[in-house]
């Protein structure tokens, strides 16, 4: 594993700036998750690290060497794609062996065999090694896909929404598995997702991308509790952070126009009256939909809450987040 550094990299496709002046250091053993909605530049950033795209400006360093102009093969990176990643004309075993047999590695067949049985064990696909990849279920395919990255010993593992095409249960299982494997191997990982649960649970650091810019990098806790902008605050947290005009409640600092309220920022039972619109009982939690001065708020309440629509509850903010008109945090 090695340290990977992006220094001021930019990339545009035609008139669209996909990545703008992004700098990021991925230290050895880091699990960095790039978070952002579709089109924020997550995948492009990953492809710039992999060498599938070359930056228009800026430099990519792997282990201290400038690799900006080199091909993917020369960078020794492993990548897990979102889909279409397994070679359909090969068996699972051949897929896993493919990177090891590359002209760069030319691994002896007995070592390939050893390595594959080891990885197959971890990913629980040992019994599928002789199957054609087209005969696998979605979860198995993605395991093999991850396996094909893990058989190597690359500078960095790159993963592009590897779990997004799976159903919820499988996604949860593989998420835990992946985090385990990463911790065991001490692997360096750059992981792209728009799933905040994946980001929160797996990342050692999260980088939030907004329209091609890296707007904040920090631990999941930092990003959640101390976002630099309204945009970042909206990336994490369920239910999503509520935003209402800052002047509804007293106490807003100078310059703040928007008040950001997560569930834990809302105290029930005191303050201003709000109308109950509806309750959603989700089993482990109950979401309470409120309306205050024409603004909708969603928060959490007691699981067995007996509130009814049109009831009145009093709410007041507790250590909320304030933002200025352009969405920047006001402290």
């Amino acid at each position: 594993m090695a340290e990977v550094e992006l220094r001021n990299i930019s990339k545009s496709f035609g008139r669209i700036d996909a990545v703008k002046d992004v700098s990021l250091t991925i230290s050895d053993g880091d699990f960095i998750v790039l978070l952002g909605p579709t089109g924020a530049g997550k995948t492009t950033t990953l492809r710039l690290v992999s060498g599938l795209e070359h930056p228009d400006g800026g430099t990519v360093f792997i282990d201290g060497h400038d690799v900006s102009k080199t091909t993917p093969a020369m960078r020794n990176v492993a990548m897990v794609f979102q889909q279409y990643s397994l070679y359909p004309h090969m068996t699972v075993y051949e897929n896993l062996a493919f990177p090891l047999r590359s002209p760069l590695l030319k691994t002896p067949e007995n070592q390939i065999k050893e390595k594959i049985s080891e990885i197959a064990e971890v990913l629980q696909i040992s019994h599928k090694l002789n199957n054609r990849t087209t005969e696998l279920s979605g979860g198995e395919m993605q395991r093999v896909s991850i396996g094909r990255a893990l058989v190597r010993n690359p500078s960095i593992y790159l993963m592009d929404e590897p779990l997004s095409s799976l159903d919820a249960k499988l996604r949860a299982d593989l998420r835990v598995e992946l985090k385990h494997i990463q911790a065991d191997l001490g692997a360096t990982l750059l992981y792209v997702t728009h799933d905040q649960i994946e980001a929160m649970t797996m990342a050692s650091k999260i980088g939030v991308l907004e329209a091609g810019r890296l707007v904040q990098v920090g631990s999941p806790r930092d990003i959640y509790e101390d976002p630099v902008s309204l945009y970042v605050s909206g990336r994490l947290g369920l239910p999503r952070i509520n935003t209402i005009p800052a002047n509804i409640f007293p106490g807003a600092p100078i310059g703040a126009t928007t008040l950001g309220l997560r569930s834990e920022h809302i105290e029930l039972g005191a303050g201003l009256p709000a109308n109950v619109i509806r309750l959603e009982h989700l089993g482990d939690q109950t979401q309470l939909h409120l309306e205050i001065e024409g603004h909708k708020i969603i928060t959490l309440t007691d699981v067995h809450s007996q509130l009814q629509p049109d009831d009145i509850v009093h709410i007041q903010p507790k250590d909320p987040l304030y933002f200025d008109p352009s969405g920047n945090r006001v402290r």
């Binding site: 093969a73 279409y84 070679y87 004309h89 493919f98 002209p103």
Partner: protein, 312 residues
């Protein structure tokens, strides 16, 4: 009907469909059956009216096809008894074998030119199609249209310029010339067909191979080619069928060394009366290579003709 299904046909439907297919097969196969049986008839049987469905089979047509013969005197025939079964057949007609006919070499010419041009068309077509599919080629759409436009007129329309060019370049009646010509005609078809197939292969596979440590060319060989086999096989069959059956240019541009079977087979008629069994024998043998080639590739062909539509 209670158990009516949108997907599963009923027994009646199956029966009707089966009968229709059988009738259609009979109609289309009848000429082939005719050719096949005529090849084993005597010249007399072959022109008998009404046609003989049951006859005594003979190899006379095949022997006539492969040999040249001369008529001899009774005395000569008596002094030179036949050594084997085919000399016997000729002997019975009062003739002897003078030597082999040219059918063998003409047939070989067809094989060399047909398969040679097919290989070349598919080889060049695959490379061109890959480039058109994957790379930013300036004026790509115009170039593709230009390539297709070469097929918009019947090739024979340019017969005279090609005849003159071939004469000037010394390509007339050469294997290389005919391979070149058929490749030129087939290439546009090959590029278009193969581009369609290669477009269907997601580029992610190649990107995965690049990441896995392979060069672009190695990724092409190891990942794209195996997945394009369906397209390559069906394109090869189309190219071979054209090159194999082509008649007009073969008549015009070949006469000796490089003459293919199609212009040769009709000339058999003129040798010693109307020898239909020999013609039929030649036609039968002429069918074999394309048939064998198609059977060998049929696993790919069925999927290929649907142009990759069922893959996903």
């Amino acid at each position: 009907m209670t158990n009516w299904s949108l997907i599963e046909p009923s027994n009646t439907q199956k029966f009707v469909a089966g009968t229709l297919v059988a009738i259609y097969a009979l109609v289309t196969l009848l000429p082939i059956l005719w050719i096949l049986s005529t090849g084993f008839k005597t010249p007399t049987d072959s022109i008998a009216y009404p046609p003989k469905l049951i006859f005594e089979p003979t190899f006379e047509g095949y022997v006539n096809l492969f040999t040249t013969q001369t008529r001899q005197t009774e005395e000569y025939l008596a002094n030179n008894p036949p050594n084997n079964w085919y000399e016997q057949i000729v002997h019975d007609k009062g003739m002897v074998i003078a030597g082999p006919s040219r059918f063998g070499e003409r047939f070989l010419n067809s094989v060399i030119i047909g398969f040679g041009s097919t290989f070349l068309s598919v080889f060049l077509g695959t490379l061109a199609a890959y480039a058109f599919s994957r790379y930013k080629v300036p004026l790509k759409d115009d170039l593709l249209f230009f390539i297709l436009s070469t097929r918009m007129m019947p090739p024979i329309a340019v017969a005279i310029p090609i005849f003159l060019m071939f004469r000037t370049l010394g390509l007339s009646d050469t294997h290389a010339g005919m391979i070149l010509l058929y490749t030129a005609v087939n290439l546009s078809l090959a590029v278009w067909l193969l581009k369609g197939f290669i477009d269907e292969i997601p580029i992610e596979y190649e990107e995965a191979a690049l990441i896995d440590g392979y060069t672009r060319f190695q990724a092409f060989i190891k990942v794209v080619l195996p997945q394009a086999m369906t397209g390559i096989a069906s394109t090869a069959i189309f190219c071979l069928i054209f090159a194999w059956n082509e008649y007009a240019f073969a008549v015009l541009l070949t006469s000796g060394t490089a003459q293919t079977a199609p212009p040769f087979i009709p000339t058999i008629i003129g040798v010693g009366g109307q020898d239909w069994p020999a013609v039929a024998a030649g036609a039968t043998l002429f069918l074999v290579p394309v048939m064998v080639f198609t059977i060998l590739l049929r696993r790919h062909l069925l999927r290929g003709i649907t142009f990759g539509a069922v893959r996903k």
